[in-house]
Amino acid sequence: MPIKSLDELKKIRDEHMKKVELRETGQVEGDITEILVGMATCGIAAGARETLSAILDEIEAKGLKNVRVVQVGCMGYCHSEPTVQVNKPGQEPVLYGKIMGENIKELFDKHIQGNELLDDHILIKTFEKA
């Protein structure tokens, strides 16, 4: 559907704003958790593709309905790839580094289903990513 005016653009923005609000402010309707996986060349080389598919498998195996996985670009922390960010409603986003293999299950058991953080893997925990 072509966008023919600024107003139409704004309408689309407002619709999708709700989806990304979680990343900016932690404000979101309903109970949805977002998992951002850094899928740039550096991440993929370090195994982000395997991490991503393991995360998807885990969601399927556990039958989680309120988790959304988003592929994003380089987050800048190339030294700790693969990087995974977990955004939960009302909480500051947590960016983890070196998430692969066994850690993925731990990430689900502890952080996503429980509310415990994986202290050893935290890179930053803030809204102001810079």
Binding site: G73, C74, T83, A130
Partner: protein, 589 residues
């Protein structure tokens, strides 16, 4: 001593010092003494907050309150009101120029929230394969505003006022480049994006295209409108398959939604984009060579003038800008040129993305305001040198740049200052080296690269870089004399003066700067002081034979339980014996 419960951070950057921050520090300290709080409140002088336009700046921890334009006369009020009574002082808070709201946390300020990440603002936050997520973060609003409310002159003026300079390395003012192309009368013009990132170790353009492809597409459409081009070309190296894939998806989505194509936003402006793949030749980063490559000819530079703005692609007026330059355009349109020019130094505005690599703990992609010092990047952001080794030098500007030593670590980075210390901004590769790195071999590495990448069109570059490389080989083989060093230096200047394009003119830079700062290392080679092969300490070797079994060229001999020897003629200096020895008996060259 009482426990310190709060810190008052006062900016001690040059900008704030000039606006009396040192006096402010003294005033704060004496006010604290007079209220008897000097044992529990500490006044800290910090580096530049990067917000010099509002200086002097202070920040109170742990409340995280941020005051701007604080004068020494304000010290009393800050101590009495904020420190003693815990009340925030309204009048010293920063007021958002757009929203007119006072902000007490620096994290609320757009300036700080975004200052580090202008070009990388969406990387790692949005899904690059979903145009709607880009739109949600104000995507295509700048294009909409430009097309419906602004004339091409307005756009060019804004970019000029912002002070944006080319991020590919040269630092040519982008607004001026657009204006020159705009002024050419021709019904066919082109706008090109240079995504031929060639410096070894640099990957910021790739990251932008992989993480936020729409930001480049939108900016190219804006640029096209400004200069009068309806056709854009993205020239990208074929070695970046993921970036190409995401660009293709992004262009497809932008076409579907009508954000590029015919009659954009119903304004009658048409713009479309094409991707051209390059074979990854370093010289194709030079704009004339790039244009020839896009045309399907050999990627060789031609002399300027005529500049591409007069006669470029298909001999039509053409504007070539770098990926990162485009990534800065939309924020400038949306937030205004004043916002952009408030960041950075006097002559270099905005931020720069650096690919931090080498012997540093946190290798990664960093975006910092111009004027940040190398020390801040390497130690604060990069987390210091790997393995706690000693810092030796940092290489910026790739094969065209030079090394920067510890003496210049506190230089604020901008285009001019880096040139002044014998290096250059380049596209933003930053390679950190530690005490173990051999500077002669590093310049040899770069020369090997440039002599390979020389297109061969002009003799100084084709033959000269090859000769330089051979001279460096002679030096590292231990066969050179002092005369060779002099000849090499002379040849460097000759190439610089006579080569046709930037590749040749800058190729000798790695040699010249290492000759200047690490002359002793060259001398060690020339005078034979430099050992190039491994050897064994007879007193420490117990004859365990571990090294004998590891040596790939079988140059270690000796009886079991007796000291061994290395045949220096045959040794290839691989270091395998050094790594395997448990008794520290193997000596490094």
């Amino acid at each position: 001593m009482a426990k310190i419960r709060s810190h008052i951070m006062v900016c001690g950057g040059t900008g704030c010092v000039a606006s009396r921050s040192e006096e402010l520090i003294d005033a704060l300290k004496s006010e604290l003494v007079s209220v008897g709080y000097d044992q529990e409140i500490k006044v800290v002088k910090t580096g530049c907050f990067g917000f010099c336009g509002q200086g002097p700046i202070i920040k109170v921890h742990p409340d995280n309150v941020f005051y701007v334009k604080v004068m020494p006369e304000d010290a009393k009020e800050i101590v009495n009101e904020h420190i003693v009574k815990g009340r925030t002082i309204e009048r010293l808070l920063f007021e958002d120029p757009e929203a007119k709201v006072k902000q007490d946390k620096h994290s609320q300020m757009n300036f700080y929230k975004k200052q580090y990440r202008i070009a990388l603002r969406n990387c790692g936050t949005i899904n690059p394969e979903d145009i709607n997520e880009y739109i949600a973060f104000r995507g295509y609003e700048a294009l909409g505003n430009v097309l419906t409310e602004m004339t091409p002159e307005d756009v060019i003026l804004k970019v000029k006022q912002a002070g944006l300079r080319g991020r590919g390395g040269g630092g040519f003012p982008t607004g001026l480049k657009w204006e020159l192309t705009y002024k050419e009368k021709n019904d066919e013009k082109y706008i090109i994006c240079n995504a031929d990132e060639g410096d070894p170790g640099a990957f910021m353009d790739r990251s932008i295209l992989e993480g936020d492809p729409h930001s480049v597409i939108e900016a190219m459409a804006i640029g096209g409108y400004a200069i009068g081009a309806n056709k854009g070309i993205i020239y990208i190296r074929a070695e970046y398959p993921l970036a190409i894939k995401r660009l293709e998806i992004a262009i497809g989505q932008a076409r579907e939604t009508g954000l590029i194509g015919d009659d954009i936003f119903g304004t009658g402006f048409d713009f479309d984009l094409d991707i051209r793949l390059g074979a990854g030749a370093f010289v194709c980063g030079e704009e004339t060579a790039l244009i020839h490559s896009v045309e399907g000819s050999r990627g060789e530079p031609t002399k300027k003038p005529p500049y591409p703005s007069v006669s470029g692609y298909k001999e039509k007026p053409t504007c070539v800008c770098n990926v990162e330059t485009y990534a800065n355009i939309c924020p400038i349109i949306l937030n205004g040129p004043e916002w952009f020019s408030s960041i950075g130094t006097e002559k270099s505005k905005g931020t720069k993305v650096f690919a931090l690599a080498g012997k540093v703990n946190n290798v990664g992609l960093v975006e910092v305001p111009m004027g940040t010092t190398l020390r801040e990047i390497i130690y604060d952001i990069g987390g210091g040198i790997f393995d706690d080794k000693e810092f030796k030098a940092v290489q910026t500007g790739g094969p065209s740049g030079g090394v920067i030593t510890v003496a210049d670590l506190d230089t604020p980075i901008d285009y001019e200052s880096l040139k002044g210390i014998g290096s250059m901004m380049g596209s933003g590769g930053m390679i950190v080296m530690d005490e173990d790195d051999d500077m002669v071999k590093i310049s040899k590495f770069y020369l090997e690269f440039t002599q390979e990448e020389s297109c061969g069109k002009c003799t100084p570059c084709r033959v000269g870089t090859r000769r330089l490389f051979e001279m460096l080989e002679k030096i590292t083989d231990g066969e050179a004399t002092i005369d060779d060093l002099d000849n090499m230096e002379q040849l460097c200047y000759m190439i610089k003066d006579t080569a046709l394009c930037g590749l040749g003119q800058t190729a000798p830079n790695p040699i010249l700067s290492t000759l200047k700062y690490f002359n002793s290392e060259y001398m060690d080679y020339v005078t034979g002081k430099k050992k190039t092969k491994y050897s064994i300490d007879e007193d420490k070797c117990i004859g365990c034979t571990a090294c004998v079994r590891k040596c790939p060229v079988d140059c270690i001999s000796g009886e079991v339980k007796k000291p061994h020897v290395i045949d220096e003629e045959a040794c290839i200096a691989c270091g395998a014996c050094y790594d395997v020895c448990k008794f520290d008996a193997v000596l490094k060259p």
